[in-house]
């Protein structure tokens, strides 16, 4: 053969121009990558490089980083938080399947988490004397969860968003009722009532019991079991998403009517997505119960539901890596908000980043920063001139930095706190409406008020404060960035 012929053209198949679509592939779909706008400069180059890294490499990296965590952290508490985060990630993956891919608003999702927990607890606890091996009871719990999911979805035949939402939300409420009153079903005790079941056996494989605690602290083996389960769920769902069913789900999400016209079994697909999500939630429930060695009805309140939703929405519904990151972030956020010092750091970080993002580096930014600082120092000086107990309340991390700025009384009069919270809400709403100079004027007092409320109301009450933050996060995300961090923007065509 002569050397001047290109090497590639030796076999006849490869002679076909490689730029065009393969046989049977739509050209518009095949060239999707070319239409995607990439950023200019080195950011774009890095982005393009990163996009080329295969998904399993990311997953391996992520799991390796997660698995290495116990090597650096010997605190049992931090490891427990790690375990809970992995359970949250599993829950978020399952919810992503229903909400992100199926496009169904499942508000009873946590009930399936509870069903998994209760199935495990009932058949593997000293309370009722059953001790079914984990290798049987965990799959059984998943199947029960999925079947109940199917049953719940079935009656709302049309399964349009709102009807499904209300039936599932009611189902969650009902689940709580049944769990709370389950100790008196025709004279039988099934769920232990509001005291729950507190003598659950740990996981056991082939006769070996996986102890929950090791030398009095959280046994790290559970963390690894959770990671293994997470990887299995992630990989399985990844392949489901790329299968015929996954594509059908996504088309269903985009346009149920069009999918039906194309001959897809729409209702069956919806039920399937619903039931699979329920199964994943049940799986997460089993391992969480095995570790906690107990289960209570209150573990499955709407509060947990909102938390999982915040994770999925923040990460980007529809994107698997997105919801995993979302679960991680929200889980860390909830932990941070419980610690006064960390909550303070987080707050000022968010404020500073937010203001800089809004104004960039400009004269106006300097104006806002300077006037906020002056406003604060002046207020503080006035308050301090009345009595030192008005400003002596700040303790913990960063307390030195804000000591001469935010007024933190030792004992806040209740009505002052209530009024300032209300004023803050009004100020926040107003500053979203004002433009230009007016906003510039309104911003410093609002920022200062926010700091005041945060220091005096939110930090002392981490319970409601965490969920206020989550609620706000949901609203703001829906308006500002409904596709979340990694989700793809969806365009509604009417």
């Amino acid at each position: 053969m002569s050397e001047w012929l290109p090497h590639e053209s030796e076999s006849p198949e490869e002679a076909v121009p490689t730029s065009g679509p393969a046989v049977g592939q739509d050209e518009w779909v095949a060239r999707e990558g070319e239409r995607r706008a990439s950023r200019a400069g080195w950011v774009g180059t890095v982005e393009a490089r990163l996009r080329r890294v295969p998904w399993w490499a990311w997953l391996t990296l992520f799991v390796a980083a997660g698995s290495a965590m116990p090597l650096f952290e010997s605190s049992g508490y931090v490891r427990l938080v790690g375990f809970n985060t992995v359970v949250y990630m599993m829950l978020a993956l399952g919810l992503n399947l229903v909400v992100g891919w199926g496009g169904l608003l499942d508000l009873g999702y946590i009930a399936f988490f509870g069903i998994g927990s209760y199935v495990y607890a009932i058949f593997d606890s000293a309370k009722f004397g059953y001790h079914v091996p984990s290798i049987l009871i965990v799959p059984a719990a998943v199947i029960v969860g999925a079947l109940v999911g199917l049953l719940v979805g079935l009656p709302s035949r049309r399964l349009s968003g709102d009807y499904l939402a209300i039936v599932t939300l009611f189902f969650l409420e009902l689940f709580e009722t049944v769990a709370t009153n389950g100790n008196q079903i025709f004279g039988h005790d099934i769920t232990g009532g509001s005291f729950g079941i507190s003598t659950v056996f740990p996981l056991s494989f082939a006769g070996h019991t996986l102890a929950v605690q090791h030398n009095g602290i959280f046994a790290v083996s559970y963390y690894y079991v959770a990671i293994v389960m997470f990887v299995i769920v992630y990989v399985a769902l990844f392949f489901v998403n790329n299968s015929r069913t996954g594509r059908a789900w996504r088309s269903l999400r985009e346009d149920p009517l069009a999918s039906e016209v194309m001959g897809m079994p729409v209702n069956w697909l919806k039920l399937m997505s619903f039931a699979t999500g329920a199964g994943v939630a049940a799986l997460a429930g089993t391992i969480s119960t095995a570790l906690n060695a107990s289960v209570y009805p209150l573990n499955f309140s709407p509060v947990v539901l909102i938390t999982i939703y915040a994770m999925v929405i923040l990460g980007g519904a529809g994107s698997q890596p997105g919801v995993v990151i979302g679960a991680f972030l929200v889980s860390v956020l909830l932990q941070v908000l419980q610690d006064p010092g960390q909550a303070r750091v987080l707050f000022y970080l968010v404020i500073v980043v937010g203001v800089i993002a809004a104004y960039r580096v400009s004269v106006r930014l300097a104006l806002v920063a300077a006037s906020t600082a002056v406003f604060g120092i002046a207020t503080h000086a006035i308050a301090a001139s009345f009595h030192h107990s008005w400003v002596d309340g700040a303790h913990g991390g960063l307390a030195g930095v804000i000591a001469n700025w935010v007024v933190v009384p030792e004992q806040l009069t209740p009505w002052v706190g209530q009024v300032s919270y209300l004023l803050l809400l009004v100020g926040m709403l107003c500053s979203t409406q004002l433009r230009g100079r007016l906003r510039l004027v309104a911003l410093p007092p609002t920022l200062y008020l926010a700091a005041f409320v945060w220091e005096n109301q939110m930090i002392p009450n981490p319970g409601p404060a965490r969920y206020i933050v989550l609620g706000l996060l949901l609203i703001v995300l829906m308006i500002v960035r409904p596709n979340g961090l990694l989700g793809e923007r969806r365009v509604e065509i009417n």
Binding site: P155, Y163, L174, L257, P464, G471, I475, M478
Partner: protein, 307 residues
């Protein structure tokens, strides 16, 4: 028979509160096609505003105004406060999402609901707030009233049921006999066509939120006159209210009334003849039964979707 009358009375009282909440759901759903999860929490805020005004006027034991005026003022204040709250919620949480995918406002509504109930808990704690209506002029609202077949019907019940029905009549009049009502019905029928015919959709939606939220505020006061209120009460009541709206046929005003009273009675009979613990189960079964056999509800019309 006496027991039955007693239970029916209970059901009617609770049911009229549900009906008022259901009306708000139905109105907002009709115009915006949005399941307003925050509605139950607006109801809760209404009951808190009522409590605040009641305390400001001297509390139930020694009010500074006559009892009838006190009740009217408390209810009006709650209605006004809730109307403002409803408008704010619509303006900031729902309006930016008018053209977003349908799931977006639903999630935003969840966020609002969560935000409101936790804000109330932050502000006032998780404890219960009692109107102590039995203290109003020495318990007159309970002692007075009339007897029916040896069952005493307290004045408070009569006032609650009566004013709920009065509000419904006013609402019916507003929706069916006024220009704005006509615009509302047109918007609910077909938003785009209504906009093309020159109806200011934004104004109609704001008006709907005012109406619905004011009804929720009144319901909040009626509820709290009977039992203590607390920050988490909105969730369950909202759920019941929505169920009532679905049973009656979502989008239908008489449907919401009938659905609410049906639901209240069902709960009351369950509690009386069986157990209070499972009343949720009965309500859920009714909801499921309707989903299976009559998804359009009692008074709803069947939606025909055109492609």
């Amino acid at each position: 028979m006496q027991f039955f009358i007693q239970l029916s009375l209970d059901g009617l009282t609770v049911g009229s509160v549900y009906a008022l909440v259901a009306l708000g759901y139905t109105l907002i759903y009709g115009v915006l096609k949005l399941l307003n999860f925050a509605h139950g929490d607006v109801f809760m805020v209404g009951s808190f505003i009522g409590y605040g005004v009641l305390q400001a006027l001297g509390g139930a034991s020694n009010p500074v105004v006559p009892v009838w005026l006190l009740l009217v003022l408390v209810t009006l204040a709650a209605m006004a406060g809730c109307a403002v709250l409803g408008v704010v919620i619509e303006r900031f949480a729902y309006r930016p999402l008018r053209n977003a995918p349908r799931i977006a406002p639903l999630i935003s509504a969840l966020g609002v609901s969560f935000f409101l109930s936790n804000s109330m808990q932050l502000e006032f704690g998780a404890q219960q707030f009692n109107y102590a209506s039995y203290n109003l002029s020495g318990g007159a609202l309970y002692f007075h009233g009339f007897d029916l077949d040896h069952v005493h019907i307290p004045l408070l019940r009569i006032i609650t049921i009566g004013s709920a029905f009065a509000l419904m009549v006013v609402l019916w009049f507003l929706v069916n006999r006024t220009r704005t009502g006509k615009a509302m019905r047109a918007t609910s029928f077909d938003r785009e066509a209504a906009a093309m015919l020159g109806i200011d959709i934004d104004r109609v939606i704001v008006f709907t939120f005012i109406l619905g939220s004011a009804l929720a505020g009144a319901a909040g006061v009626m509820f709290a006159l009977r039992v203590p209120t607390f920050a988490a009460v909105g969730f369950t009541t909202g759920l019941k209210g929505f169920t009532a709206a679905v049973i009656g046929g979502i989008g239908s005003i008489p449907g919401a009334m009938v659905g609410g009273i049906l639901l209240g009675c069902a709960e009351s009979y369950t509690a009386g003849y069986w157990t209070t613990a499972w009343s949720d189960l009965v309500v859920f079964s009714i909801l499921i039964a309707f989903m299976i056999f009559r998804p359009q509800g009692l008074f709803g019309r069947v939606d025909i979707r055109k492609v």
